[in-house]
């Protein structure tokens, strides 16, 4: 009964991973004999300013998207908790709907929202007297513009997880604090936030790992431009792979990210969840 799943995971997950490590030491391409090049691919990646610039960009992108998601999800959870059950259901359903929308459709919609002459955003800022901005056409705003669809797509799941965590805190803690005269912000700082530390940590890491790997939005919306200002790490790797004859560079770069990100999430998952996950 285990066989089908293990065979599929073996062929399409483990084998590609092993194979990636193998290929990363070769000057491999679809068309020629490959030759062993040792660590050259990794050296090429680590010496490439474009790679490091994309990492920096990914970090800047994440520094906006991840706290944005965390703060909004926390606010959402606290709001829903105070609402009646019918209203709470409506709110939960609404905030989750963007999660089921594809990156392609989100991109189509947001590109039109950012449109220079007739877009919604420029219309809104013109109401308060600002000049039209080429949001996706300018290297200084394009990355910022991509954060909105990223948050829009990612907020729903984080919010519902945050809400589940908030509702797990026994109501009696809040009641006794309230009886002792604790204000809302005191209850939040001294009860809610400490007790939700694990959920927060979990969301922080999973959102970060997902966000820094984002490449579908810039692939469709900007192709990494203008002047590479939205060339996030995985987009750089993906475009290199599709444009290069030799694949060693891309695979070595992907593996470097894998070591860092996979390690990070495995460690955090272990810290929070270790024995329970393994032993059920």
């Amino acid at each position: 009964m285990l066989a089908p799943a293990l065979v599929l995971l073996g062929i399409f997950v483990l084998w590609p991973l092993v194979y990636a490590w193998y290929v990363s030491f070769f000057n491999w391409s679809f068309y020629t004999e490959s030759t062993f090049v040792g660590l050259r691919n990794f050296r090429l990646v680590l010496a490439d300013p474009v790679f490091w610039a994309s990492i920096g960009r990914g970090l800047r992108f994440s520094v906006i998207v991840v706290p944005g998601i965390m703060i909004l999800a926390f606010a959402f959870a606290n709001l829903v908790k105070t609402m009646g059950s019918r209203m709470a259901t409506w709110l939960k359903v609404s905030i989750y709907i963007p999660t089921v929308i594809s990156g392609v459709i989100a991109s189509i919609v947001f590109v039109l929202i950012y449109e220079y002459r007739q877009g919604l955003l420029n219309w809104l800022i013109s109401l308060v007297g600002f000049e039209n901005q080429p949001w996706l056409g300018s290297a200084s705003t394009a990355l910022l513009a991509l954060t909105a669809p990223a948050i829009w797509l990612g907020l729903g799941l984080a919010s519902l997880i945050m809400l589940a965590g908030l509702l797990d805190i026994p109501e009696s803690y809040f009641e006794s604090a309230e009886l002792d005269g604790a204000k809302w912000w005191q209850r939040t700082v001294f009860i809610t936030i400490p007790l939700m530390r694990n959920i927060g940590l979990y969301l922080l890491v999973t959102s970060f790992v997902a966000t820094i790997q984002q490449y579908e939005l810039p692939l469709i919306m900007t192709q990494g431009g203008p002047t590479q200002s939205t060339l996030l790490p995985n987009l750089h790797i993906f475009l290199r792979f599709t444009n290069d004859v030799t694949v060693g560079y891309s695979i070595a770069a992907a593996l470097l990210l894998f070591v860092v990100l996979g390690g990070l999430s495995a460690v955090i998952f272990r810290v929070i969840n270790s024995e329970k996950a393994v032993d059920g």
Partner: protein, 306 residues
């Protein structure tokens, strides 16, 4: 890996869940104002949430009703001057659009069915059977959840190319079917089923396969809904893996996201048609989610993370 690799890693790893009756119970708990600000403020914030979440989609759907040159008319206008269904009619009678919807729909059903079959069998094995190296294999399966998509996307492409799978239905459906998150999620559910139920059957001489099909499968509806819909969505929304593996131009396997992306880059200015098509492409998944939202929302609980 594959069709849903990025999705497994984003939605998937955060969806380690086990549905509990407690969640449903909690929902019924009466509302109590514990936040700052009054009722008015809370409703203002709620309205903002509705607006932020749904406005882009509403605008997309409404703009589909605009005349050809009206979507990009300056200045910006939310509602059309005249509501006209032309765009919807035209895109819905484009044979390539219909074919793409058909491929996405059929493929997503197939993918969900395969995913449920493969992952539930593995979940049952991990929950109930004893075999050599069980713990080692389980840890190895769990570890695959932490592999970022890009680390295996490129070599998966090489692997399926070598296997001659490019431009086949199999390349879209098979590679992503087995997923550790789904095995984990279904296993959690199966662990919660008391062993006493199957012990009677075992004594009566039923074998493990029979217990799985006759006892476990009928009880699996709540987890199957969540896993099935997650898989369906992953297939329906997939973009990168399909553009890598379905390489023939105007292939009969072109799916809806590919169709929309190509439409957008080739027929840039026909915004009305594009938005009408996008609306039609988003509708099935929204409807599916609305029908099963109860299961999905209560499915989003992270077991063990306390």
């Amino acid at each position: 890996m594959a069709a849903n690799a990025p999705i497994v890693l984003t939605d998937g790893t955060r969806e380690l869940t086990s549905p509990t009756p407690a969640a449903a119970h909690r929902r019924r708990r009466s509302a109590r104002a514990t936040g700052p600000g009054g009722t008015v403020l809370r409703y203002v914030f709620s309205a903002l949430i509705f607006l932020a979440a749904l406005f882009p989609l509403a605008w997309m759907a409404i703009s589909g009703f605009k005349a050809r040159n009206e979507v990009v008319s300056s200045p910006f206008q939310f509602f059309p001057d005249v509501w006209q269904p032309q765009n919807y009619v035209e895109i819905a009678s484009d044979p390539q659009f219909l074919r793409a919807v058909g491929v996405s729909f059929g493929g997503a059903l197939l993918f969900a069915a395969l995913s449920l079959t493969v992952n539930s069998m593995a979940a049952y094995a991990f929950a109930r059977l004893e075999f050599a190296f069980k713990r080692t294999i389980w840890v190895a399966v769990l570890m695959t959840m932490f592999i970022p998509g890009m680390a295996i996307l490129l070599t998966s492409y090489i692997v399926v190319t070598r296997m001659g799978m490019l431009n086949t239905l199999a390349v879209l459906v098979v590679p992503g079917a087995a997923a550790a998150v789904h095995i984990f999620f279904i296993r959690q559910f199966y662990l919660g089923i008391p062993t006493s139920i199957e012990e009677a059957a075992l004594i009566d001489g039923a074998d493990r396969w029979r217990i799985f099909t006759a006892i476990f499968l009928p009880m699996s509806k709540p987890v199957f809904v969540v896993v099935g819909i997650t898989s369906f969505l992953a297939f329906w929304n997939a973009y990168v893996w399909p553009i890598m593996t379905i390489t023939e131009p105007d292939s009969a396997l072109t799916q809806i996201q590919q169709y929309l992306a190509t439409f957008r880059s080739e027929r840039r200015i026909e915004y009305g048609l594009l938005l009408a098509g996008s609306t039609l492409a988003a509708t099935p998944v929204i409807v599916l989610f609305l029908i099963f939202q109860r299961y999905i929302i209560s499915g989003i609980r992270i077991s063990g993370i306390k």
